[in-house]
Assembly symmetry: C2
Homo-oligomer: 125 residues x 2
Amino acid sequence: MSLEIFGDRWSLLVVRDLMFGGRRTFKEFLDSGEKIATNVLAERLQRLEANGIIERRRDADDARKVNYALTKKGITLAPVLVEMIIWGARHEETAAPPEIIRRMVADRDGVVAEIRDQWKKDRSL
Amino acid sequence: MSLEIFGDRWSLLVVRDLMFGGRRTFKEFLDSGEKIATNVLAERLQRLEANGIIERRRDADDARKVNYALTKKGITLAPVLVEMIIWGARHEETAAPPEIIRRMVADRDGVVAEIRDQWKKDRSL
DNA sequence: AATGTGACTTGCACTATGCAAGTAATCTAC
DNA sequence: GTAGATTACTTGCATAGTGCAAGTCACATT
């Protein structure tokens, strides 16, 4: 069940923010609401990369920046993430479930397919 | 996404062993292959109970024993677990995927429904 | 040239985990 | 009915992991 890879407090949050939250850079992950420490974030990004879930890309326009992206393997986590998000929305009181969550509940497979297509496009550039 | 509840190495394994592995007692969880420490298992069981995922039941026949069971809330984790197990089976080389995993892949919703019914029966006794 | 930014590292206190051993309440067998 | 297992935990302690503040270093901006 691969809990060696993401059996911790942060790894799946990083993947979620990458997959659904539009975050790409170290700084963007840091500002993701939950307060992950910089050293922990750095270590998680390395581990996710070592496990083939995400990949590092130096930014073409700004040499300081690094953009993270989902790998093919990472993209296949979409169904897992969707189920966890739905579960969390049902059982935690995180205010009213926002639009995307209602779409997940109504059309789980559609949302997963959309995510897959979006990232497939990214990977073919 | 509730990673405060099961964002660690062991909590989801306990739920999985309860849901799909037929484990019910402390000792059975201990002998589940992965080597969780007794103190950690005790703490995880308490936390899962505190979060309403599982419940403790003293055994009617043997006063030494405690049987753990999934609550309604715990049962709703089935889709999450199924997706994680499928993902793990695809991406880790855990020998040949056993029968249950092939059934999960072929008929995800059927397996989830089966688990739900099985536990619903348990809960109505 | 001076200041700012982005992506990390480093140091250190604190917390969680792993391991071995111990305990208390049953059961079971003789 | 008592000695020896069983079950479900606790406790103590060394080690590993985490959180926080500060620092580094390669660019970028002004």
